[in-house]
Amino acid sequence: MAETLESRAGKATPMDRLWAENDDSRGVSEPTMQVDVAGFEGPLDLLLHLARNQKVDLSRISILALAEQYLKFIDSARAIRLELAADYLVMAAWLAFLKSKLLIPKQPGDEGESGEELAAVLQFRLKRLEAMRDAASRLVNRNRLGRDVFARGMPEMVIIDKKNEYSASLYDLLTAYAIQRQRQAITNVRIAKRGVWSLKEARDILTRLVGSFKDWTALDQFLLAYMTTPEERATAIASSFAATLELVREGHIEMRQQDAFAPLYLRSRAPAEKAIEGAP
């Protein structure tokens, strides 16, 4: 049983995920986004960096040399077993293809674009990205409202379109909609998905709850807040009971029962409270 717990510990339970979503972890969990190969934001960014190191104008850059540098970079990254996002590997494969196209002269029967054409496309993309980088820095260095240039500090009037007594932006509207539907969808998922309580779930719930019960409390009461449907009762009680035994063994809680089939009572063990809080 301990093994099962171990192996599952790394994964978030459905409950945990729900909490995480409520905490609004936008962007944090998008796997491809965190790719940060030594601080590069995607393969094109890495290529642009390598290209700049050639210290020539992008139009006169050697695409072949660039492709080789990139492939070398990827090889060394893999050598130190750095985990690379698929994007980087796809680019590597494409550059290897480009390299072969550039090295082997176009055959009469060849289909598709020539190596030179492909190289030109890559060059274009690099130039365009660089141009946007420059544009971004020129933009932020302009005189900006609220930093360099100011509006009237003591407005005497708010100009309102007479027809619009109420204000709201499309963004407000969409945010309200998304948040509310999301909240609702998550509630629904909880109901739909929790046919069976896993031991892990039960343990997590108990661990969270048990600290707040200083007095003997019936096990049923611990679970009341989480029991949304009668169907879940059996699985919830079974899993929680097993989890309770574990927690007793680990010294987090105490447990007692008057007679066979009598209600089970639980309470947190005062000295162990800290340990419970620190538990996963």
Binding site: A151, A168, L173, L174, Y177, A185
Partner: protein, 244 residues
């Protein structure tokens, strides 16, 4: 002062006498100081004292003279430079005050609940109050719907052809206007809400965002038009559910 008939706009008055006392270099410095003071007073959220001005203007500037100049410049304009307590501030010219209080409407922000209901009406229209509550999972206060009707962004469209014949709600032209939408289907769909980071990328598979009908004026198959009797019965705003 009497030359206004010749000018397109009220001109600066130039005090020739004071002028004569200053040499060109001094004049330029004063002019630039007046420009700086003008910007500072304009941007300030409170009247600016001469002491504050002195601390921000180049050293040795005659603040009083600069402010006197500025005041003169603005004397007959739509905005005047006035003394407020021991500070300086710009104020609308007294004779133009009528322009200011003309639209004394207090702009109100929609409450979060109202925004939610509005969004649900926009996406899920035609939708009844019970359906809105079902989607939100909480009861919708009558005041919320009243507020939305007041914005004129929401209207009663008809009645659902189901027991109780509940009123259906939808959005108006004004709604599209206000939110700069060409048409209701320009509202982003589920994938786009996800793409914009508004919706979690990991929504349950049974989750969907409805596509509003393309023509808002057409009643759907299960809607009946609102009759005059309906409107009267509804007291125009209160959707009452009758048992029949």
């Amino acid at each position: 002062m009497s030359d206004s008939a010749n000018a397109t706009v009220i001109p600066f008055t130039v005090d020739e006498e004071a002028e004569a006392e200053r040499n060109p270099a001094e004049r330029l410095i004063l002019a630039e100081a007046a420009r700086m003071a003008e910007a500072i007073v304009f941007a300030s959220t409170e009247p600016v004292t001469e002491k504050q001005l002195a601390s921000r203007l180049p050293e040795g500037v005659d603040v009083r003279a600069a402010m006197a100049e500025l005041q003169k410049i603005y004397a007959r304009r739509g905005v005047n430079l006035v003394r407020v307590g021991d500070g300086w501030a710009f104020r609308t010219a007294g004779d133009l005050a009528f322009l200011m209080n003309r639209d004394a409407i207090q702009q109100k922000k929609l409450s979060r609940a109202a925004l939610e209901v509005l969004a649900i009406i926009a996406y899920h229209q035609p939708v009844t109050r019970a359906e809105i509550e079902d989607i939100r999972g909480v009861e919708t206060s009558k005041g919320t719907l009243d507020t939305l009707m007041e914005t004129e962004w929401v209207r009663m469209r008809g009645r659902r052809r189901t027991p109780g014949r509940p009123v259906t709600y939808g959005t108006t032209e004004k709604f599209l206007d206000h939110f700069a939408l060409e048409e209701i289907r320009d509202l982003p769909g589920m994938e786009e809400l996800k793409g914009a980071g508004l919706l979690s990328a990991r929504m349950p598979s049974n989750f969907s965002v409805p596509l509003p009908p393309s023509d808002l004026d057409l009643l759907t198959e299960d809607e009946d038009p609102l009759t005059d009797i309906d409107l009267e019965e509804l007291g125009l705003l209160t959707p009452r559910v009758t048992d029949d």
